[in-house]
């Protein structure tokens, strides 16, 4: 029994029962499938997180964001600027207690280089209802290429606890259809 020493003293010489052996092989192969599935998705899949990251100070990151805001702000949303950067450009999104700054307006089907960093604690970039979730760290600037594939108004909920006002930290991304060329 499992609570007493093995009945066979040389238990490591026992033959493995067929039903167990088959299951071990099936489970092992399934593990390989799952392992190579992640690599396969890096080759053919469209949803892979970027590996591009830089160390950055909060001041330097805020300066880059401010420059973008000064150049491309199109309107105001409850006191927060809404920025419409050109397609393909670098877009900076600041996370800080308890604000995503600024709000963004992007075009559907266009790609943007989105830069994420925090000014203080850790935050969680949770794009809803797409349900795309990325951790945002202070001192690190992550750069990912994002292509909105649906139009509408999207919320950026903070999903990493960042203090007592955490639940008030919501940002916005507006995705508009591309204007036809005239």
């Amino acid at each position: 029994m499992a609570i007493s020493p093995p009945a066979e003293r040389v238990w490591w010489r026992e033959k493995i029962h067929r039903e167990e052996l088959v299951w071990i092989i099936v489970a092992f192969l399934w593990g390989l499938v799952m392992f190579f599935m992640m690599i396969y998705w890096h080759i053919v899949g469209q949803q892979n997180l970027s590996n591009e990251t830089y160390r950055v100070t909060p001041e330097a990151f805020a300066a880059k964001a401010d420059a973008m805001i000064a150049k491309y702000t199109v309107r105001d949303d409850n006191g927060i600027p809404v920025v419409k950067p050109p397609a393909g450009s670098d877009v900076y999104l600041i996370a800080r207690v308890w604000l995503w700054y600024p709000h963004l307006e992007l075009e559907k089907g266009q790609s943007y280089r989105l830069h994420l960093s925090s000014m203080d604690y850790q935050h969680g970039f949770s794009l809803q209802p797409v349900n795309l979730n990325i951790q945002v760290q202070p001192g690190y600037e992550m750069v990912l290429t994002l292509t909105p594939s649906s139009a509408g108004e999207f919320g950026v909920v903070c999903n990493e606890y960042c203090g007592l006002g955490h639940h008030t930290m919501v940002g916005k991304i507006f995705v508009v259809d591309r204007k036809p060329a005239i």
């Binding site: 029994m1 029962h17 008030t168």
Partner: protein, 565 residues
């Protein structure tokens, strides 16, 4: 060694070291007290998440959430695990416990540490969540308490290792250590790695909190902290799998199908489970995809392989034992005729099933590098780990308590009718908690969030009505689980203090070799009739099909979200 240090257990014939017995008793009781406290915090968290109830104000919600994680995930589970280690070491081997004074010192350190951190949290200045991610700073005694607790637990592991050495030197058993002790040894080895990680990161963080260290890198903190935080869940897995084997053996006389396979599966845990820190860094900046893929899969899912093996060999050994007793009709007579009225067996089997189907499958899917993008930090995460540490570990610990009360506490279980129902009530509640939180998570609801209506927020976001329904169902399930938890605490505590005493066997009973089975082992390896386990093959097949389908369904969902690279 004086003979009067031991008594012979009348039910099992085990030789029980009285000092080990006292240590087991107090560690288990301390664990149960923290379970009661942490469980109440958990209930208040679930009732706050339920938007129609919204019980606590924001600051209390975050405080309760911090305390809930600390008290149940760390204190309840580790205290009880130390009791399990002493049981699997001293009692199952029929040995004296090594260095009992050191073991008491370890207990005191753990208790003082646990209380210190609890005080820090309740004072309100350390609402940093259980994970205490830097640069968010808690009060210095928050970290200090955790360090003391870790040192105490590490010392207790040392006592367990010492007991193994003593038992071997004094030849209290023949051959190899029992499988259950082997599983406990696995847990203790992983615990050393885990607690060392905790010390490595918490000591500098403590120094940072008192101003001696200038800064702690948040990514480094997270990597090493989860070397403790996630690996400690692997202590739980090893411990509760060992308990599954123990309960199957004690209640049904089940014998492992193959010692070699079951032990090899535990060995896979030791080699590979430590890589799990990566599960928390899958959507983090600054860590490469290659690193994430290798580590998150425990080097090609070799630790998952270990769990899948136990997932077959535990029910398989039960089926073999039941068939040997004559429950041979059809595929499932062995299961239908199992002792479902015995809370130890019922709790153990539900723990096994829910750990596999809820905690196991969701954990592997969520731990897939790209799929994690849809789940990271949503309520799916607590949904997953309530399937592992509550439905799996806590339920298994509750189940084994019903065996420890007569064996170690020498009392009859009080309220036997209630005790029969207790595992079911708790299991149904936990199943709901796990499923509905996962459901809310797939709808994007964040974890650790006071108000998903965003009533106080400048900018709003509207979650779908289904998310509100999920949170309401989660609240109802939490009430059910809390009732089950309350019954457990009631039964355990009142049995320990007021249960009818059970006498000892005459001291003249033979002492060596100890650890004799309560009933003869059913069938030996290779004997006909015991080793065909068609029912288990069907159960495992159902599990495998569910696993594969759920896995690929999630890849399909992933393919539909915004492209990113």
């Amino acid at each position: 060694m004086a003979q009067e240090m031991f008594r012979i257990c009348p039910t099992t014939g085990l030789r029980v070291d009285l000092r080990a017995q006292a240590l087991i008793k107090w560690n288990a009781v301390a664990g149960i007290v923290f379970l009661a406290i942490g469980g109440l915090f958990g209930l208040s968290v679930a009732l706050t998440r339920w938007p129609a109830v919204h019980l606590l104000p924001a600051d209390w919600f975050y405080l309760a959430l911090t305390a809930h994680g600390l008290d149940v995930l760390l204190l309840w589970i580790i205290f009880f695990e130390i009791a399990v280690l002493y049981f699997a070491g001293a009692i199952l081997l029929g040995s004296r416990i090594a260095a009992p004074r050191v073991a008491w010192a370890a207990f005191v350190l753990m208790l003082v540490g646990g209380l210190t951190t609890n005080v820090a949290v309740l004072q309100g200045g350390s609402t940093v969540m259980f994970t205490s991610y830097v640069p968010m700073k808690a009060a210095p005694h928050f970290y200090l308490g955790l360090i003391l607790f870790a040192v105490g637990a590490l010392t207790a592991c040392g006592v367990f290792f010492g007991t193994l050495v003593v038992a071997r030197e004094e030849r209290t058993y023949n051959g190899s250590i029992p499988l259950v002790t082997f599983g406990a040894l696995t847990a203790a080895i992983i615990a050393v790695f885990t607690l060392a990680c905790g010390a490595i990161i918490l000591i500098p963080t403590f120094l940072w909190s008192v101003g001696i260290v200038h800064a702690i890198d948040p990514l480094m903190y997270k990597l090493i902290w989860w070397g403790m935080g996630h690996s400690s869940q692997q202590i739980n897995v090893s411990a509760h799998v060992a308990i599954w084997y123990a309960i199957a053996a004690i209640v049904l006389g089940a014998k492992p199908l193959s010692e070699k396979v079951s032990r090899a599966a535990f060995l896979l845990y030791i080699f590979f489970l430590q890589l799990a820190s990566a599960h928390h860094l899958l959507v983090e900046p600054g860590v490469s995809s290659e690193w994430k893929i290798f580590n998150t899969s425990y080097a090609m899912y070799l630790a998952v392989l270990g769990s899948m093996i136990h997932g077959m060999t535990v029910p398989g050994s039960i089926e073999a034992a039941q068939r040997a007793k004559g429950f041979n009709r059809g595929l499932f007579q062995w299961l239908r005729k199992a002792p479902w009225g015995n809370p130890a067996f019922a709790g153990m089997f539900m723990s096994l099933v829910m750990f596999g189907f809820l905690g196991g499958i969701s954990g592997v899917v969520m731990g897939t590098e790209q799929i994690n993008l849809m789940m990271h930090n949503t309520l799916y995460v607590p949904g997953h780990f309530h399937g592992t540490v509550v439905a799996g570990t806590t339920l298994a610990f509750m189940a084994v308590t019903y065996l420890l009360i007569p064996l170690i506490f020498q009392r009859e279980v009080r309220f036997p009718r209630l005790a029969q129902w207790q595992p079911y009530i708790f299991a149904i509640g936990v199943m709901g908690i796990s499923l509905f939180m996962m459901g809310a998570g797939t709808l994007g609801v964040p974890r650790r969030h006071w108000d998903i209506t965003f009533a106080d927020a400048l900018t709003k976001y509207q979650f779908p009505p289904a998310a509100y329904l999920m949170l309401a169902l989660n609240g109802l399930s939490a009430i059910c689980a809390a009732l089950g938890g309350f019954l457990y605490v009631l039964i355990a505590v009142s049995s320990v203090f007021f249960g009818k005493r059970i006498g000892d066997a005459p001291a003249a009973a033979p002492a060596k070799p100890a650890a004799r089975p309560p009933v003869a082992p059913v069938g030996t390896y290779g004997s006909a009739g015991t080793l065909h386990i068609p029912g288990t093959v069907v159960l495992v097949g159902v599990f495998f099909v569910s696993f594969v389908l759920y896995y690929f369904v999630n890849w399909k969902y992933l393919a539909e979200i915004w492209p990113l690279r």
